[in-house]
């Protein structure tokens, strides 16, 4: 079953915008609603849109299984590594060792409702990025495995 030219062109045009919106949700996770899981799911929706509109063999570039495996494992390793790095600076597991230090992501915030700075919140943006990459890779990989089954077994209708 070949999807129509309208669907394919629309998927091609929409993909970068979905990517940018998902990255915005991930990066601004500590300021606005959303976070790593939600942003990663939005980006994975963009990848899956391309996968549904085209065949798996037609996709080139970054949307391959190898890259997604690297993203998924790397995201989980970065997440655990950030939590473990707190032990090196003398805290406990999952201690927020970057907050309020004045270095990277360490600007103190004022109390009360305020727009906020992006370089705040310590390890939370790093963990957001890690979880976002992991969810992107994981959810895309599930659909890619099912598409691989489809390409082998032939289609109907």
């Amino acid at each position: 079953m070949q999807l129509s030219r309208i669907v394919r062109t629309a998927a091609d045009i929409l993909y970068p915008f979905i990517l940018i919106f998902g990255l915005y949700i991930v990066i601004h996770g500590h300021l606005t609603p959303g976070g790593g899981f939600q942003g990663g799911a939005v980006i994975a929706t963009g990848s899956v849109l391309l996968l549904v509109a085209f065949r798996y063999s037609e996709l080139t570039g970054d949307l391959r299984k190898g890259w997604m495996k690297i993203f998924e494992s790397g995201g989980l390793l970065l997440f655990i590594g950030t939590a473990l790095a707190a032990l090196l600076v003398g805290g406990v597991f999952f201690f927020n060792w970057l907050a309020n230090t004045g270095s990277l992501f360490g600007i103190p915030v004022a109390f009360g409702p305020n727009p906020g700075e992006i370089y705040t919140a310590g390890v939370i943006p790093v963990m957001n990025l890690a979880v976002g990459i992991e969810v992107w890779g994981g959810l895309s990989l599930i659909v890619m495995y099912m598409m691989g089954d489809l390409e082998e077994g032939g289609e109907r209708s």
Binding site: G66, L76, I124, E134, L139, I142
Partner: protein, 89 residues
């Protein structure tokens, strides 16, 4: 006969659930010390303006670690099931 009994049971259960649901206080959560602590100290302790993210990634970090592990094992299991159908790559 069976259908009538099933319908009576269904209507009875629906009535019970509706009776319980109507009496629940909706939209007015009860006071708790933990919420108050998060709202008062979350911003200065973690530096995040979004208290939801501060709770998910800092105070309750182990929950997020478990969630990430669940997703990882789900993907690995899907790969195990569909692996024999995959060729190369």
């Amino acid at each position: 006969m069976k259908r009538i009994v099933a319908a009576v049971i269904a209507i009875f259960l629906l009535g019970v659930f509706m009776l319980i649901a109507v009496q629940l206080p909706f939209g007015r959560p009860s006071y708790s010390d933990m919420d108050d602590y998060f709202l008062r100290h979350g911003q200065e302790e973690t530096g995040a303006n979004n208290i939801c993210t501060a709770v998910v990634f800092d105070y309750r970090g182990f929950d997020t670690l478990g969630e990430a592990s669940v997703l990882f094992s789900a993907v690995v299991t899907t790969g195990l099931i569909f692996r024999r159908l995959e060729r190369g790559d």
